[in-house]
């Protein structure tokens, strides 16, 4: 694996969206103290899909909506998402999904 300093920003976000892969996701998750499961991965894929389509990191509301459309309504609840990403589905999720740092914090 490449030195993380080359592919990550100072704040630990992936520099290039297209560099993301499973190995990198695992490495990013480890930095957050998380072990990735298939449940995490499906949310990460939704986040990446959202960013690809709409060129912007979602807010919590928009992410929930997207999850209910792409996956199902149960997985769109804040409770479920915070269980997977305790430090915030947006903040932590975007980081592990290889999205740029969200400009907003809402």
């Amino acid at each position: 694996m490449t030195n993380s300093g080359e592919i990550l920003t100072e704040k630990g976000y992936l520099k290039r969206f297209s560099d993301w892969n499973l190995e990198i996701a695992k490495m990013l998750a480890e930095r957050e103290g998380l072990v990735l499961t298939e449940q995490h991965l499906e949310i990460l894929r939704v986040l990446r899909g959202f960013y690809q389509k709409y060129q912007r990191t979602p807010t919590m509301r928009a992410l929930s909506k997207e999850i209910s459309l792409v996956l199902n309504a149960e997985k769109s609840s804040s409770l479920y998402l915070f269980e997977l990403f305790p430090n915030g589905p947006i903040q932590q999720g975007c980081k592990i999904a290889g999205l740029p740092r969200p400009a907003h914090c809402l």
């Binding site: 912007r56 979602p58 509301r61 909506k65 997207e66």
Partner: protein
Amino acid sequence: MKRILFIFRNPPYGNSTSSEGLDLLLGASVFEFELSLAFIDDGVFQIKYNQQTDPLGLKNFSAILAALPHYGIEHIYVEQESLQKRGLLQTDLIIETKLISAALLSDQIISSDFVFHF
């Protein structure tokens, strides 16, 4: 619930007016407001389908407008004459909109608690 109307009347690129308006709109969507959005004049270009921004070295920030229903923003108006004058049809737009006349738009402005203009 307070009603806020956002009016976009500038083209999407060339300066940052439109993108700042969009930031405010999406920020406001987090709170309990009833949000409406109207595109008039060159603002209609913001929702034109198939915008190629790569040659400009810019991000296509309009892409997010296709996701407005995700943010609970359901009332999206386009002023009829603005669209016509620019040779555009509703089918050229990236999002479902309601056509509105200038007169009806004035009614919307009057019935809103706040109006932001970008």
